[in-house]
């Protein structure tokens, strides 16, 4: 296992596989950060239930754009231009969850509750990683704190709509059913060879299966506490 700390000035001296994997993971992370605003801004900013909600949508988008900026800068420093993801149509995104469009508030709420939470798991993989500039970014409180804020808002909104019962609860359950499996798929295949190489080079900490299981253990009691049904984890899944 590779456990050295790699500074920017030493990046070129690293193994080509390390360089490829770092470039790839930064491109995917950048795509996921900008993918969120591309999913929800157009329809949700003008139609959010309250004025406060509209401002929160705008602030959430601003924070995600800033996360993109920070990751894009790290990628740019190693010669990887990830600006192409800014102009990609949603259908081209690396991760399937970002390929559609969010048009209903319930989906925006559950997206924060479940998908931003997967985003936090992805960022946690970089805490203590071997690429020092990325590790340093993760040690700064902003990115993780802002991601937690998105998760908390989504979780509270999901719980609020579930507590209303009736049609509101049915709509939020439908959104949960849709996003739950997308979230589980975001962890990738349990037998992924590339994931093992990320771990070998100290660019990720957990296996895909470990991270997915921890996520399931975290969200299951939250869903149950809201009085919602935990969706079938196999229904509609693409990756196992």
């Amino acid at each position: 296992m590779f456990r050295d700390q790699v500074a920017l000035k030493d990046f070129e001296k690293t193994d080509p596989e390390y360089q490829d994997l770092l470039r790839r993971v930064l491109a995917i992370q950048a795509d996921c950060e900008i993918g969120g605003p591309n999913l929800y801004v157009k329809d949700i900013l003008p139609t959010a239930p309250t004025k406060l909600d509209q401002l929160i949508v705008a602030r959430t988008a601003a924070e995600e754009i800033d996360h993109y900026r920070k990751i894009a800068r790290l990628a740019g420093e190693i010669g990887e231009d990830v600006s192409y993801v800014l102009s990609w149509p949603n259908q081209k995104r690396y991760v399937e969850a970002f390929r559609g469009r969010i048009t209903a508030w319930e989906d925006f709420a559950v997206f924060g509750f479940l998908i931003d939470r997967v985003g936090r798991y992805q960022l946690e993989e970089f805490v203590g990683c071997t690429y020092e500039p990325l590790n340093r970014l993760m040690q700064q409180p902003d990115v993780m704190r802002e991601e937690e804020g998105h998760i908390d808002f989504g979780t509270n909104q999901t719980a609020e709509y579930a507590a209303k019962g009736g049609g509101s609860k049915a709509k939020i359950q439908k959104a949960l059913d849709y996003w739950y499996v997308k979230g589980l798929d975001m962890f990738g295949r349990s037998d992924s060879k590339r994931s093992e190489r990320y771990r070998y080079w100290g660019l990720k900490r957990r296996t895909n299966a470990e991270a997915r299981q921890q996520y399931i253990n975290e969200v299951t009691p939250l869903i149950e506490k809201m009085g919602l049904q935990v969706p079938d984890p196999n229904q509609g899944r693409m990756y196992f």
């Binding site: 605003p37 004025k51 401002l55 705008a58 601003a62 754009i65 894009a72 740019g76 010669g79 800014l86």
Partner: protein
């Protein structure tokens, strides 16, 4: 290692965009009971975000 082209310029441009969005939101937050102010802030954010989502990077960096 040489930087990718436009790394600095894009970073600076995005910083300006992010600052403008935060300024609009922070300006409106204490005035939630004044729909005119909030609507103006939301409109400002919408115009900025529409440009980001359009993603015409080469135009931004001209």
């Amino acid at each position: 290692m040489s930087q990718a082209p436009n790394t600095e310029a894009l970073d600076e441009h995005l910083k300006t965009i992010i600052l403008a969005l935060h300024s609009a939101v922070n300006w409106a937050m204490p005035h939630l009971k004044d729909p005119k102010i909030v609507d103006q802030a939301v409109q400002d954010c919408k115009e900025i975000l529409d440009v980001v989502i359009e993603g015409n990077v080469s135009e931004w960096l001209k």
